[in-house]
Structure formats: C-alpha cells, structure tokens
Symmetry: C2
Subunit: 181 residues, 2 copies
Amino acid sequence: MTFPGSQALRVTVGDVTRELPTVRVGAVGRVPLVEFLGDSEFTNAAAEAMLPLIPPGTEMLLTVVTNALPLAHELSDRSGLPYVVARKKRRTYMQDPLIQDVPSLTLGVAETLWLDGPHAARLKGKRVTIVQDVVASGGTAQALARLVTRAGGTVAGYLAAFKQGDSALPLIYLQELPQTI
Amino acid sequence: MTFPGSQALRVTVGDVTRELPTVRVGAVGRVPLVEFLGDSEFTNAAAEAMLPLIPPGTEMLLTVVTNALPLAHELSDRSGLPYVVARKKRRTYMQDPLIQDVPSLTLGVAETLWLDGPHAARLKGKRVTIVQDVVASGGTAQALARLVTRAGGTVAGYLAAFKQGDSALPLIYLQELPQTI
C-alpha cells in the first residue's frame, strides 16, 4: 500500500481509491491521515463495506465526534440501526450527562467524553456496537464501552473503518494502516 | 408549532416529524434544540428538502463542525457537490490553515474557525454555498463567507435547515424556529 519515495498512502475501499495525505509527526516519520469529513464518496464506500461487519444482535450504534460522524450517520441509515453520539466537551444544554475520561497515553492530554442524559437513556438495555473511523490505542473505544455499560447497555462489538496501532481490543475493521510510513 | 403547556416543539420536515426538546436558558424561557446527530432519518429528510434550495451555479458546499456534519454529508451525496468542513479548533495536522474569528455577540465568547490549507485550496475559484443546520445571529455564517473569500472563492448563497433569530443574512432555509417558547 505504501509508495516508496511518495508522501501519500493509497487506500482502496470498495470501488473508491484515495491517496491519504500524510503528516510529519516529530522524528517518527509521516502518519497517514484518514479524512471522512468533506468526502461523501469515501464515507459511503466505507459504510457500505462495514455494513456486513456489524455484529449480529446489534440494536444500536455509538460513536464519538468528530471525524466519524458522517460515517456513523451512513451506517445508521444503511443498517436501519439508530445511533448515538458522545461529545468531547460539555454542551450547555446537556442534562445529567455521563462523564467519562479517556485512558490515553498517546495523546499526552487527558480527554473526556460527555454523553447527554437523554441519549444515555437510549442505550439502556440495548446491545450496542461502538463505531469509529480509526482506532489507534483503543483508549477512546474503551471509554465509549464504559459509557455503554454505565448507561445500562451491553457492548456487542467494536467496529472501525481502519485500525492504526496495537490495540488489544477485539476490533472488527476494514483495513489496517501503518502508524508511520 | 408550539404546544401551550408543553415543553417540546413539534417540527415536520418532509414526512418526518420530531418533537424538539427545549432547554431552559436563564430567565428568557426555553430554547428549542435541533439535533441532527444521532438521527439519520431527520437528517435525510432535511437534506432532501434542502436539495432544491441550493442556489443555481453552486460548485461547492462549505460547512462547519459539529451538528451540521451529517447534514452536509447527505446534501453533498444527494447533490453531487463536494463539500468542505471548517473546524472550531486547530488540529495538529493542519497545514497553513486560514484562521477566522467569529463576530458573535450571543455566545459571549469569541470563537475561531480553522480551515486547513489543502481544503481552502479546494474553494479557490469556486462558487460556494454556506451550509448550516441552524442560523441564529449569522455570525458563524459571516465568518464562513469570509473564509470563502479569503480562499479565493465567491459566496453563492447561505442555506440552512432552520433559521432561529434575526440574522440580516439573505438566508435560504426550510423553516423558522422561535428563539424561545
């Protein structure tokens, strides 16, 4: 998938091919960047490919802002499964939100997820699949799973378009991306 | 549209009806809340209704995170017009972003929009329609328009699902919502 001497990474999902841009991160090299925002064709191809991978018995999808939003929307639309969105900051309108820290080492900064009370209530008693665009360390996925449990639901599985790291999660994904090229 | 004695506001878009939740804001009353995140059916209905309202000659759509993302994705998908997303904070991977303050009085806090350089380049020479979920004061719309101009594009129009305030913008929208009920 890598092009020696190139600064892009070619990825094909369904019949859509993209040259992912890469960004230099410190001395470790260049990190390929997945962008679903602003690319409805790529988003749709990923959703279509992920559709058969949704764990059987799933009743609800849970995702988190921002990059996965169009993807989760499409997956919800195509599967007929409702979806719920956790936020990364408190919104003024939230009522009794569940607040969950993300156990992240890679970010260097503690992140917090916020799930508005009425949305948490939608997860109660449901089998919920966590949906993300890219899973790296898996810290965000774990925090989302914790939110499911705290809301009274059960985790049906973890589904992502791309895996890009050494997460120990039982992750279902379309393709693995190198962390650096 | 209002239900006296009720705390919800009923809105119908296409064949989808929702009781919008309302949140109490200070002493002014209850503000109806439009949530497209987590509601693909409502999002699709709004995109379908907005489709014929896209100004003729539009070559590109521009929106801003977060609530309008699934809507902009759907509108892009249905219209075949590409879309670009401005962010509300700097991302580490951005290259030569355009940085634009939002002239907002209502928020009480200055907000800043960030448009990544490669995405700004996509707007150059294009006729761009600004797409939002809800327009209140119009400050964010003005900042997005400024980004279009600075990127070398021209503003084809302003399109929103809902108008909820006294913006002087020449806004095209589906429905007007009361600011408070």
